[in-house]
């Protein structure tokens, strides 16, 4: 089992985007693209981003949305060579990447979280599509319909976290 170049004709089913805050290293971002069977096609991860105390104070409550959305999210989505049909994230602050990408980005949380009006349940997950782009909702549903037969929507984020943890060890 090894690493090889992806054939360009393959369209990834779904992207999974998240960030991991490491107290010792800083903030890592991870972006995983998978096929319809949930198998990895591409993985992109950022070098750790450290924020100074002064920056924390300066940005205040906008810090996470800026870091996740603009710095990490936008950077990672730009690195992907494949165009997924939908990008899912488990961090609400990551939704601030939406202005910086044309891809539909939706929030995935565990089912026991109170949903919004436009949310829908899929398995153990609750998906909140972007409300300001209703044309994405149907595209998002169609993409997920195939994927959820194979993959628990919250599970790929665990893989990303495991990969980032591995990167920190090395």
């Amino acid at each position: 089992m090894g690493q090889h170049t992806v054939e360009p004709s393959i369209t990834a089913a779904c992207g999974f985007l998240t960030a991991v805050d490491s107290p010792s290293h800083g903030l890592f971002g991870g972006y995983l693209l998978v096929d319809m069977a949930g198998r990895p096609l591409e993985f992109h991860c950022t070098a750790p981003l450290k924020v100074s105390r002064a920056q924390q104070i300066l940005y205040g409550a906008t810090l996470h949305s800026h870091l996740h959305g603009q710095q990490i999210g936008a950077t990672l989505l730009a690195e992907g060579t494949l165009q997924p049909q939908v990008v899912l994230t488990d961090l609400e602050s990551m939704l601030h990447v939406r202005p910086h990408t044309k891809l539909p980005v939706a929030l995935v949380v565990r089912r026991d979280t109170p949903p919004t009006a436009s949310s829908f349940y899929v398995g153990t997950a609750c998906v909140s599509p972007p409300s300001d782009h209703p044309e994405h909702a149907s595209q998002l549903r169609a993409a997920i319909e195939t994927l959820v037969a194979s993959v628990d929507l919250c599970e790929p984020f665990e893989r990303i976290r495991a990969a980032i943890e591995e990167a920190q060890r090395h």
Partner: protein
């Protein structure tokens, strides 16, 4: 700032700092002057404090506008095959198309909670992760494993069906084998090593990771393997390499058959043919891998000479006699990884990432218990006398040999004494047989089945005659494969046959006899590993009811003394495989053998 009053006592305005006092407080003599002229003499004091005119220090707080560096990895895409088979569905929370449900009106937390409760009440499926082996050092390759979905998902999306749901530990075994190029699956006998190997290679074939597989096993297990592959991987074409040389050449050269099965003797015989054909295998699996523990043997050399990408070894007894056994196996699995000079503890640590061993008591809580009992037998009077004379004469002979005494002389004496413990050579009496008959009477009457193991085919033949009323059948290496298969079938299906007599050599490996609930070791083998193999023919997955194991031990004989040495060997095996503290000396050394008769081994002269 320096006070200049000391230089200008009247406090006249002057460059520098000025100071003033109330008249009454002035420490200096005061001269009164006319008020008219006072203003001309005293100028009002002006306090001048120069302000530091340096540029104020500006602290720059940089904005977070530097994009982080990104590492990117791309992986090979294995296309999802079409689904000609039904998929297995382990208990899962996956939802298929059409199962979408809009979120309920969660105006109240209670309604949200009930939906969550329903979802969380579903049994959580086991998720087996495929982790990268330690020797995979490239980050991209490590990510490839870490970012895979769990094994159960891979199996499901690959549309692979199982005839029976594997146990969770068997999924762990598959997750262990799949990413490894060199692996030893050393599960205790009866835990399904062949099933795990077959399922793993099946998935690798499906994922396109391997295309040519060779399975090597003892001759008596070839049909077992083809049956198991048909059971666990029915879509895989299998060719058994056997028959005359021309036929074997054709079979070796077959290209469209992903799996070939050959016995060890064929591999030795066709070593040059395989090289001549330039055959290379993506995966070679060897069963009962202890067969290659001796590195200098033709078998070991022939197996190791095979060109291959992955090497998997299956054995329930990786350490049969000494730590060197494991080194021998590792010369196939990962050449050079272990060496004879390593301590048992160091060897265990080095082998840890390549070896997976589980024992029944740890992984199969539901397996019926195994009840061990040692039956200590007093020899009959005639047997005792025969034994005493033989031992005295034998020891005397060895003593007289002095430096000329060799290991084979000791072995000959041991074997002779053990045979007397089975049957008196003079009268044919047997205390063990009397005990065994009594036990079998009860077992046969209850409709249960028993296995009886012996080291000697001759003993098996004698027992068959004595136990004919139980429909005793034989199974040993002197029989043809067809005769052995027939014996198994009759024992399994015909209630008139409640006893199967087996030799350790032929009967201790690979057979599935889990319908037998009683195992008797009529005489003991040289090491506990082979005895365990024998016992596990019955005590394995699929066993119904507890399995009772009876080991006959003649009191105050060589059998008792050998038993003590066997205990030490078991400790060694446990130490290496559990990386515990270092074990006592391994194996039966020359000194051990001579010590059985309280003799000193001969000193070897320098060459």
């Amino acid at each position: 700032m320096e006070d200049r009053l000391s230089q200008n006592p009247l406090g006249f305005a002057a460059p520098g700092r000025m100071r003033s006092w109330h008249l009454a407080q002035c420490p200096l003599p005061v001269v009164h002057v006319l008020p008219a002229i006072a203003p001309r003499l005293f100028r009002p004091a002006h306090l001048r404090l120069p302000i530091d005119s340096a540029t104020p220090h500006v602290v720059r707080v940089p904005l977070i506008d530097q994009r982080p560096a990104v590492q990117s990895y791309q992986f090979r895409h294995a296309p999802v095959p079409p689904a000609p088979w039904q998929t297995i569905v382990p208990p899962a929370t996956h939802v298929r198309a059409g199962d979408f449900s809009p979120a309920p009106n969660c105006a109240s937390a209670a309604s949200c909670a009930s939906a969550a409760d329903r979802a969380s009440a579903a049994p959580k499926p086991k998720r087996t992760r495929i982790l990268p082996p330690r020797d995979v050092v490239k980050m991209g390759e490590r990510f490839f494993f870490l970012l895979q979905p769990n094994l159960e998902t891979i199996l499901e999306t690959s549309h692979l069906e199982f005839p029976r749901q594997p146990f969770p530990f068997q999924f762990d075994g598959m997750a262990f084998l799949m990413p490894r190029h060199g692996a030893v699956l050393a599960d205790e006998m009866g835990l399904g090593k062949s099933m795990q190997a077959i399922s793993s290679l099946r998935l690798l074939v499906r994922l396109g990771e391997v295309r040519r597989v060779l399975v090597i096993c003892p001759k008596g297990l070839v049909s077992n393997w083809t049956r198991e592959i048909a059971d666990w991987a029915p879509e895989l074409l299998v060719a058994v390499v056997e028959g005359d040389p021309q036929r074997r050449r054709w079979q070796w050269a077959l290209e469209d058959v992903p799996v070939k099965v050959a016995n060890y003797e064929v591999v030795v015989r066709d070593r040059e043919l395989v090289a001549e054909l330039g055959l290379s295998f993506d995966l070679v699996v060897i069963d009962e891998a202890q067969r290659i523990k001796n590195r200098s043997s033709h078998t070991s050399q022939a197996v190791r000479s095979l060109s291959r990408n992955r090497s998997w070894a299956l054995t329930g007894t990786p350490v049969e006699n000494s730590a060197e056994d494991l080194v021998g196996i590792f010369e196939f699995v990962a050449p050079g990884h272990l060496s004879d000079s390593m301590s048992p503890r160091a060897m265990g640590a080095a082998a840890a990432d390549h070896v997976l061993r589980r024992t029944k008591d740890r992984v199969l809580k539901d397996l019926p218990p195994r009840l061990n009992r040692d039956e200590r037998i007093e020899l009959t009077a005639e047997q005792r006398e025969t034994y005493r004379r033989a031992e005295e004469e034998g020891v005397l002979r060895l003593s007289k040999m002095g430096q000329g005494a060799a290991i084979q002389h000791v072995f000959e004496l041991i074997l002779r004494l053990k045979q007397i413990c089975n049957f008196d050579t003079a009268t044919g009496e047997s205390a063990k047989l009397e005990c065994l008959e009594a036990e079998l009477d009860e077992i046969h009457a209850s409709g249960r089945k028993s296995l009886v193991f012996s080291q000697w085919v001759e003993t098996i033949g004698r027992l068959r005659g004595k136990l004919s009323r139980f429909g005793a059948l034989e199974y040993h290496g002197g029989m043809s494969t067809a005769a052995r298969d027939e014996a198994i079938e009759r024992f399994k299906n015909d209630p008139r046959h409640s006893v199967l007599l087996l030799s350790y050599g032929a009967g201790a490996v690979g057979l599935n006899l889990q319908f037998s609930q009683y195992v008797f070791l009529f005489d003991r083998w040289w090491n506990p590993a082979v005895e365990d193999q024998a016992i596990n023919r019955a005590h394995r997955i699929g066993a119904v009811g507890a399995v009772t194991v009876t080991r006959f031990l003649s009191v105050d004989t060589i059998e008792e003394r050998i038993d003590e040495v066997l205990r030490q060997k078991r400790d060694l095996s446990d130490t290496i495989l559990s990386q515990a503290e270092s074990a006592p000396i391994a194996g039966l050394t020359q000194s051990d053998l001579f010590a059985l008769f309280q003799l000193v081994p001969p000193q070897r002269s320098a060459a």
